[in-house]
């Protein structure tokens, strides 16, 4: 602990605010504003991290200093002042939490109700104090049973900060192996200051018996704005992982930059599903989350990685879950629904990098734009020289609601191997008045009719989601489009 005190002291001295009486404030729950090597040291010390990780973070930070924010995406926002935010805040203390649902924003509760989320669960989601996660489930034992079951199979599933303490060799070996610290501006930033996230390891030949979900550990500290996830599926194993939830999430921090790394070894399969519903801001886009995410998976021989995402939240989404198809006969898939309404902007898509022979990839992207929003699909398919017999199929469909929104498709295709095949199809359509009228003539109110039509449009993607998630996602589609007709 001595090292911790020392670091905190240094940080404290650097700023006026914490000059006095700082040394004793070991429980201080915020790093001072701004980003510097000291902030990085502070975070690492707070988390009691080993020396190698601190070095890793510092290297990332130093690299970040040399980088500039990417500007190629079709999104616009005022410049972000990186020195004007906080990079570490401890989980909220009880005093800051609402005492009961009565103290929670009624608009939020309204949405929970529409999603059909039970009261107990609403309390957990809204961060009401003294509600244990166990309360969400029918009995206290569910979460425990869950843990026991996983341990029996040798599966490790915990917060990444825990994994750093308990399984440092695994974390050290794989973290940064797919998304290097210097990969891009936001990934570098994340590497320097990430606070928490999930870690998962599936041993050889094990088929994970249940969907793993961040949900099962939402009580394990708020993951915050710089989330880091690492999933390693050893040879011949299988795991399905769910991230996020359909309930709207709010955060006082506007800037979010997560990193997710997946490693699928020979014959392994990882299915990664996301429902992202961060606060999109008000009708004018004020106050919404900026979400800059780097997600990438590495496939060894005959491995398969499948990304499925439903993106409905955030003011800005910048996100390209990708697959590096390194091993021969490996498979990458990307299924995506991106809905934007009001002033939301989404620039999302995927990268499929074919390196091995007979690698295959499939991309199904559905973009729905309503209000004054802008949605862009940006996809890259690259066939390397050695990718004999590789195949890609891409289908991008855009649906427009109203005439003030926009949808754009930007495919990059690059092939260095003549035997590789790339197929690309794109369509743009509008929700027709004929369709809406037809539904209404059968008694279905206009907004519900729109939800029905849009869900039909997204069906190919939604059916890739695990069952219960799919049902919730369908409702979410409706909620995201509220106010876009009539």
């Amino acid at each position: 602990m001595a090292a911790v005190l020392e670091t905190i002291e240094t940080v404290g001295e650097a700023t006026d605010k914490y000059k006095h009486g700082f040394v004793t404030e070991i429980e201080m729950d915020r790093a001072p504003k701004g980003l510097s090597e000291d902030t990085v040291r502070f975070i690492s010390a707070k988390k009691n991290e080993p020396e190698w990780l601190l070095e890793w973070r510092l290297e990332a930070y130093r690299h970040w200093l040399t980088m500039t924010e990417p500007m190629w995406a079709r999104v616009g926002y005022p410049p972000i002042d990186y020195q004007d935010s906080y990079y570490y805040a401890a989980p909220k203390s009880d005093a800051d939490r609402p005492k009961s649902l009565d103290e929670v924003d009624p608009a939020l509760l309204d949405t929970y109700a529409k999603l059909g989320i039970p009261l107990k669960e609403q309390e957990v989601l809204a961060g009401v104090r003294n509600v244990a996660i166990d309360a969400v489930f029918d009995s206290v034992s569910v979460a425990t049973t869950f843990k026991d079951r996983l341990e029996k199979d040798g599966i490790i599933f915990c917060a990444i900060s825990e994994a750093i303490q308990d399984h440092p060799e695994l974390v050290r070996k794989y973290m940064g192996s797919v998304v290097p610290t210097s990969d891009n501006f936001y990934a570098a930033l994340n590497s320097a200051v990430f606070t928490d996230g999930s870690f998962c390891y599936i041993p050889k030949g094990v088929r994970c018996p249940m969907e793993l979900s961040t949900y099962f550990r939402i009580n394990a500290a708020e993951t915050g704005q710089f989330e880091r996830t690492l999933i390693v599926a050893d040879e011949g194993s299988y795991v399905s992982y769910l991230e996020g939830c359909t309930a709207p999430q709010r955060d006082e921090n506007q800037l979010h930059a997560a990193v997710v790394e997946l490693i699928a070894m020979d014959d392994a399969e990882i299915k990664y599903s996301t429902v992202q519903n961060w606060y999109p801001g008000d009708e004018d886009g004020k106050g919404g989350i900026y979400n800059f995410v780097t997600k990438r998976g590495l496939c060894e021989k005959r491995a398969k990685i499948s990304w499925t995402q439903v993106e409905t939240g955030s003011a800005i989404t910048w996100k390209y879950p990708s697959c590096i198809l390194k091993g021969d006969d490996s498979v990458g898939e990307f299924y995506s629904v991106a809905i934007t309404n009001n002033r939301q902007q989404a620039d999302t898509g995927t990268k499929m990098l074919h390196i091995g022979k007979n690698t295959r990839s499939r991309i199904i992207a559905k973009g729905i734009s309503a209000g004054k929003s802008q949605s862009t699909y940006r996809g890259q398919v690259r066939m390397n020289a050695m990718a004999h017999g590789a195949k890609n199929y891409t289908q991008c469909d855009s649906l427009l609601i109203g005439d003030e929104c926009g949808a754009h498709t930007v495919p990059y295709i690059e092939s260095k191997n003549r035997s590789a095949r790339v197929e690309h199809e794109a369509t743009t359509s509008k929700v027709s008045d004929d369709q809406l009228f037809y539904c209404r003539q059968r008694g279905i109110p206009e907004e519900e009719a729109l939800t029905l039509i849009v869900n039909g449009f997204c069906r190919e993607v939604l059916q890739e989601l695990p069952m219960e998630f799919a049902v919730e996602a369908q409702k979410l589609v409706g909620i995201s489009l509220e106010g876009s007709v009539g």
Partner: protein, 251 residues
């Protein structure tokens, strides 16, 4: 009180007057047939009655069960029991027919303050109707009308009518595109739905349909007006002579 009472109805589309003073009274349980040349305004009348956007009523009134129908939203009219079997049913990709049917039925029930059907109750009703109309189960699992043949689409309209049990059913050329066997099945289906509290407005070009669905009244619509009304023998006469003479005689 009549189910439907139309008085001097004028309606415009894109500023062009299409309906030019329609008068029509329909009693409960009655079946009325409307015939008339292409472009005379038959579908327009069906859209005005069901509340489609862009069809402006410039004059006249329409009472449905004594209420001003024109003040209601399209879905409110449907919930109140007005059903339109479309001349050209619309495709809705990705939405399974069964999902659509269930949502339609439950929307109507909800609006009427009735209990919504659960999956089991719904399936029971649907299966019975499918059997009556000789529709194979596979059909309803496919996306609504998507890639259906012309005849299949028409059958699906009748299935929806059978499930929603409307008080006023408007069938816009439901017989067009049906083969002879299908015509018989559909007509049987429609006849089975004839009831004292259900009125039907059957738009058709062919007397053949009216052999199966025998109407109480037949009207001839021409250039936005009903120029002639009669009983079922009028349909026979039309078939023989064509519209030209009759239109000329009425003018």
């Amino acid at each position: 009180m009549n189910i439907l009472s139309i008085k001097d109805l004028h309606a415009t589309v894109d500023g062009k007057e299409i309906l030019k003073g329609i008068n029509l009274e329909m009693g409960a349980g009655e079946v009325h047939a409307i015939m008339g040349p292409n472009g005379s305004g038959k579908s327009t009348l069906s859209y005005v009655l069901s509340g489609r956007d862009g069809y402006e009523v410039s004059k006249g009134e329409v009472l449905y069960k004594g209420e001003n129908l024109m003040e209601m939203l399209p879905e409110e009219r449907a919930q109140a029991g007005v059903f339109l079997a479309f001349q050209y049913p619309v495709e809705i990709p990705g939405v399974p027919t069964v999902t659509f049917l269930k949502q339609a039925m439950n929307s109507v029930r909800k609006a009427r303050g009735e209990k919504e059907l659960d999956a089991f109750e719904f399936k029971k009703i649907m299966d019975a109707r499918l059997k009556e109309l000789s529709i194979v189960n596979d059909m309803v699992r496919r996306a609504l009308n998507t890639g259906f043949s012309g005849g299949e689409k028409k059958r699906m309209e009748v299935l929806q009518m059978a499930m929603l049990e409307p008080s006023l059913a408007i069938l816009d050329e439901t017989d067009s595109g049906l083969d002879i066997d299908a015509l018989k099945t559909v007509a049987d289906g429609v006849n089975a739905l004839r009831a004292e509290d259900r009125s039907m407005l059957v738009i058709t070009h062919y007397q053949r349909l009216l052999d199966y669905i025998v109407p109480d009244h037949v009207h001839v619509l021409s250039a936005g007006r009903i120029i002639l009304s009669g009983d079922k023998s009028l349909a026979l006469e039309l078939e023989e002579k064509g519209y030209a003479d009759i239109v000329a005689a009425a003018a």
